[in-house]
Each structure stands twice: as C-alpha cells, then as structure tokens.
C-alpha cells in the first residue's frame, strides 16, 4: 500500500482493496519504524489520525465521498491545526496549540483526508536545508548525510521515504520546489493567491504560497483541486475561478513552446546537473515541444531583491511574537521591555533573527527608499522580464537548483552561500508565477529536479507538461534503496 500514488490509493479505497484505517495504520507504522532516522515529522497524532480514518471509512461505506476521502496526508507544521501543536519549526511556538484550523486544513478535512502528522521545516520557513529547525535537521532519504532541502524538507523527505503518500508545503522563495528536487519528488508552487494563506503562519506575505508535494504531477493535481480557491478570510487570495486540474493532464504537448532562459544555464550551474536537465529537455522535444532561447536579463538581481523584500515583510510579520498572547515567554521578566527582548532572543533562532534585523534595517527611517522601495521597483523589472518571455513561449523550463543535495553542515555557517541555493526559484515568487519541480534524473545517486514555470493561473498547463513528461520517463518512480525494503 505504501508505494502507491494518491490516484491509486483513491481507486483502492473505492474498490475496497483496503480501508482508510488499514492505510493510515500502514503509514503510521512506517513513521514509527523509520522516522527516528529521518526526523521528518515534528508531531504525529495516531489517535486523531485513526479516528479520521474510521470516519472516512464510514463515509466511503455510505457513498458520501469527496476525491480525497480516506487519503492520509502529512501537513507542513506551518498550517494551524485546531487542537494540534503548530510549531513552525520554532521554539517560539513550541507550546502553541491553535484554537482554529487553517483554511487549507479545513478544506482537506472537509474532503475526509486523514492528517498523519505535522512535518519538520526550517524555522518560520526561513532556510534551504532544513537545518534551522528547532527540532533538529531532517535527513535526505536518498542519503542521510545529505540535507533534504528546505524549508519544506520534512514534507519532501516524508513523501520520498514513503512515510506519507503526499504532503503540503509552502514556498516563499523555493521552499516546495528545492526540497522536491533534492528528494526526487514532484512539487508545485501555485500562482500567488491561488491557495488561501489564512492560518498559514506568515513569513513574507507578498511571496508566501502553499502547494502540494507528491510522487507525480497527477497527484499534485488531485491535491491542488482540494486546496485551490478564493477564501473570503484571506483578502490576498484570488477570486480567479479554479478548474479541475486533472482535466488537461492527458493532453499531448506537441506544438508547445518552451522557453529556456540562458541565465539559468550559465555560470553557477553544476555540469552534471546541466547534463540531466538537457536530457529532460530533449525528452520534451521528442514529445513535440519546441525549445526557444529566451532571456531574463534581470536574473542576477533576484537574490538581492528577495533578500530585501522577504526580510522586510518577515520583520513586520514576526513582530507579533511578543510573549504576551501565545507562544514562548521568558521567565521572570523584570519589565515589559525585558519581556519582549528576552522572549524574542530565546524564542527565535539565528537565521530568523538575522532576517528580522535585515528587514528592520531595510524599513528603518532613512533607509526605506534605498532598500525596500528600490527592491519593489526591481521586483517589477523582474516580473516584466517574465511577461515579455510569455509573449513568445507557453512555459519556461530550467534547473530547479544549481546542483543536487549538499551535505548536512556544508553551508549552515554561511548565510549568503545558502541564499545562492535558491538562485533559480526566487524569481518565480517575486513575479507571483506558478512553478513546479519534477524529478529528472540523478547525479551521483542524488536526485535532480527540472523546473517548469508557467503564466499566472496556468497551473493546469504546468501539470499537463509534467504529467506528459512522467508518462515518458520513470524518474518519479525511483525510490531510495534504503527505503524500498523498509517496514510494512
């Protein structure tokens, strides 16, 4: 059961090959047997999961089903879950039990999906390696000496290790796509505003977006169907109509024009990774697509632009953690100032503090125009580059990351070198576009991800291209050797 796709599990539940309770038990047992090594979950609530599975089985028996009824799913520990700790990977929220569900959680619950647990992540989603979590690093199932990527590293590792058939993640600068690439799974960051942010702990409000992480494009489409849509409680969620994201999967891609930004294939890209990406592009060409040379001339400005805007927004969002209403509070504060400053010293880790300080500086009197306003102007130039390209091409393709997963500890002492990991993913968030990472081969037994970028609200096209690629290749079916022979 544990090595089936969501689509296969849906069929199995309906034809009664197994029950949701059996399925849920199977994944809980795998988590129990294997997660000590990977650390991909922060919280697992067996009792609640089995109760939800039994309720789903009752719905299945009564014929009162939605698409995902009875399907076990892992949620990134950034989504508020009523009555279940939501830590966001931080000591600040180690004791935080939300009194409400995020809209995304509500939607999965309404479908009858089963929450297996909450996955590990970089603290407040700030990181590209999952090493900044208060709960310790996650390990990559392909090689436990490697990072799984971040910030949704727990979700990526859990899916890759077959501890969950699918998971949710969030992506502010690559946090779904980069761990998906490093762990050999499929991940989609939808258009900004496609999925509600209500109840998703805020990092950078103009960039944050939730999305699915799974084994295949088809599974991502099934999850996106449950997630996408306007939420009156999130004023930045889009009123654009949604569609059935599985409807276009089978469409042939002959005649598709794929833009290859030359800036994504130049200096900085690992040679062996480039070779895998070239092979993937040839495969798409063989399926009838046309490859078009394009340019995103402001690509070199994406990292500086992002590292003004994201910290600036983070510094304002994280000002809410004050030790007064919920979360961590320091012991024996002598006065209110001491309460604030020591609570925040103790509650936040180094990377989060750095970003709050950078953001505070960028927004402070005398520096606002030089940093924040400047970055917002360059952000528009970066978006315009994409808009010009989409006049000539249907989608854009390239590597998700400059190279495969790196070793634990290799970059954790050097923030700027860690930031360079996201060189190909950040621009997608700045422009608000949908982006995917699709397994596209291996370098020294480490997975490589092909990134696909689409027009705003063109998720169906991205999923279609990814699905057609996955019909012609089997990279997404490969499993880590140590995992395939595991328990259950």
């Amino acid at each position: 059961m544990h090595d089936k796709t969501v689509a296969q599990l849906m069929a199995g539940l309906r034809d009664k090959s197994f029950s949701s309770a059996e399925l849920t038990r199977c994944f809980l047992d795998r988590i129990g047997a294997m997660d000590e090594q990977l650390n991909s979950f922060i919280s697992v609530n067996e009792e609640a999961a089995l109760a939800a599975a039994n309720a789903a089985d009752a719905r299945l028996a009564a014929g009162d089903t939605a698409a995902l009824t009875g399907i076990p799913i892992a949620h990134k520990d950034i989504f508020c879950t009523d009555g279940m700790r939501t830590s966001c990977g931080s000591r600040m929220l180690d004791n935080f039990i939300p009194p409400y569900d995020a809209t995304l959680i509500k939607r999965f619950n309404a479908e009858g999906a089963v929450t297996l647990g909450k996955t590990n992540m970089d603290e407040f989603a700030m990181g590209s390696s999952n090493e900044s979590s208060y709960y310790g690093p996650v390990r990559n199932p392909w090689d436990t000496q490697l990072v799984p990527g971040g910030s949704s590293g727990g979700s990526a590792a859990a899916v890759a290790a077959l501890l969950a058939p699918a998971a949710t993640g969030t992506d502010t600068g690559g946090s779904i796509r980069q761990p998906a690439a490093f762990c050999g799974i499929t991940g989609l960051k939808p258009t900004y505003g496609r999925v509600s942010r209500l109840g998703m702990v805020a990092f950078a409000s103009s960039l944050d977006q939730a999305g699915p992480m799974a084994h295949s494009a088809e599974d991502c489409a099934l999850l996106l169907n449950a997630m996408a849509g306007h939420d009156p409680l999130d004023s930045t969620s889009s009123p654009e109509p949604t569609e059935d994201y599985t409807a276009q999967l089978a469409r042939q891609i002959d005649g598709l024009r794929i833009g290859l930004p030359r800036e994504y294939f130049g200096e900085g890209l690992d040679n062996a990774t480039a070779g895998q990406i070239d092979a993937a592009l040839k495969e798409l060409e063989a399926l009838g697509a046309t490859l078009v040379d394009i340019s995103l001339p402001n690509s070199h400005l994406t990292i500086p632009t992002y590292y003004v805007i994201a910290p600036a927004e983070a510094s304002t969002n994280l000002s809410r953690f004050d030790g007064v209403r919920y979360g961590h509070r320091c012991t024996d504060p002598v006065d209110l100032h001491d309460l604030y400053t020591r609570t925040r010293e103790e509650g936040f880790g180094d990377e989060v503090k750095r970003r709050i300080l950078v953001g505070t500086y960028a927004l402070s009197a005398g520096y606002y125009d030089a940093y924040y306003k400047k970055a917002q102007q360059v952000r528009r130039l970066i978006k315009q580059d994409f808009m010009h390209c989409f006049e000539q091409v249907d989608i854009i393709a390239g590597p998700t990351t400059p190279g495969p997963a790196f070793a634990l500890g290799a970059k954790s002492d050097d923030p700027v070198s860690m930031y360079l990991e996201d060189v190909y993913t950040l621009a997608v968030n700045l422009a608000g576009l949908p982006g995917m990472s699709v397994p596209a081969g291996f370098v020294d037994d480490k997975p490589v991800g092909l990134q696909l970028i689409g027009r705003h609200f063109d998720e169906a096209r991205l999923l279609n291209v990814a699905h057609q690629y996955q019909q012609a290749t089997d990279w997404h079916l490969r499993r880590p050797a140590a995992i395939a022979g595991g328990a259950a």
Partner: protein, 95 residues
C-alpha cells in the same frame, strides 16, 4: 552602505531582540555580508519604475462591515502565558 556594531545594536533595539555582547560582533559580520550582497540593487536605474507591492498588482479587497466572528476570548486566552479576569498579564509598566 557600511554598517557598524552600534547600528546593529540600534536595529536590535527597534526589533526588540536582545543580542548577547559576545555575539554582537558575529551578527554584525553576517549582516554586513548580506547587505553587501543586497547593495547590487543600488546600481540599477529605477527612476521610471513603479514599486510593486503585490505580484498581481491586486488592490485590497474590502468586505461589507458586518459582524461575522463570535467572541472566542476563552479559547484564545487558554493558550496565553499569563491571564487573569479575562486580561493578559505583563510586568508592571507604570509605578
């Protein structure tokens, strides 16, 4: 733009984050590296470019001003560090 240790102390005060004296040097160095990387932006001519706050250039959607939430004070206060008689407790501010 160079940043000095006392600038970091001022920012940390604005952000209400205490930094240990023995760490301030390292924090200053890391933030200097980040700001040096960010300073590439200064070379770009943006005189004709409107700042972009939302990637879809969306404007704020307003809803009718109707009461839609119920009072959940007890649920919210149940997760607070210190409360009394429905109030949040903090150290004494005024003597």
């Amino acid at each position: 733009m160079a940043i000095e240790q006392d600038d970091i102390e001022k920012i940390a005060e604005l952000a209400r984050i205490r930094i240990d004296q023995d760490q301030i040097g390292q924090v200053t160095q890391r933030i200097t590296e980040i700001l040096r990387m960010v300073d590439q932006l200064q070379a770009v001519d943006t005189s004709e470019v409107q700042p972009m706050a939302n990637p879809l250039d969306a404007t704020q959607i307003l809803r009718p001003d109707r009461v839609t939430e119920s009072n959940r004070r007890e649920a919210f206060q149940a997760i607070a560090p210190a409360v009394e008689d429905g109030l949040y407790l903090v150290p004494k501010v005024i003597d």
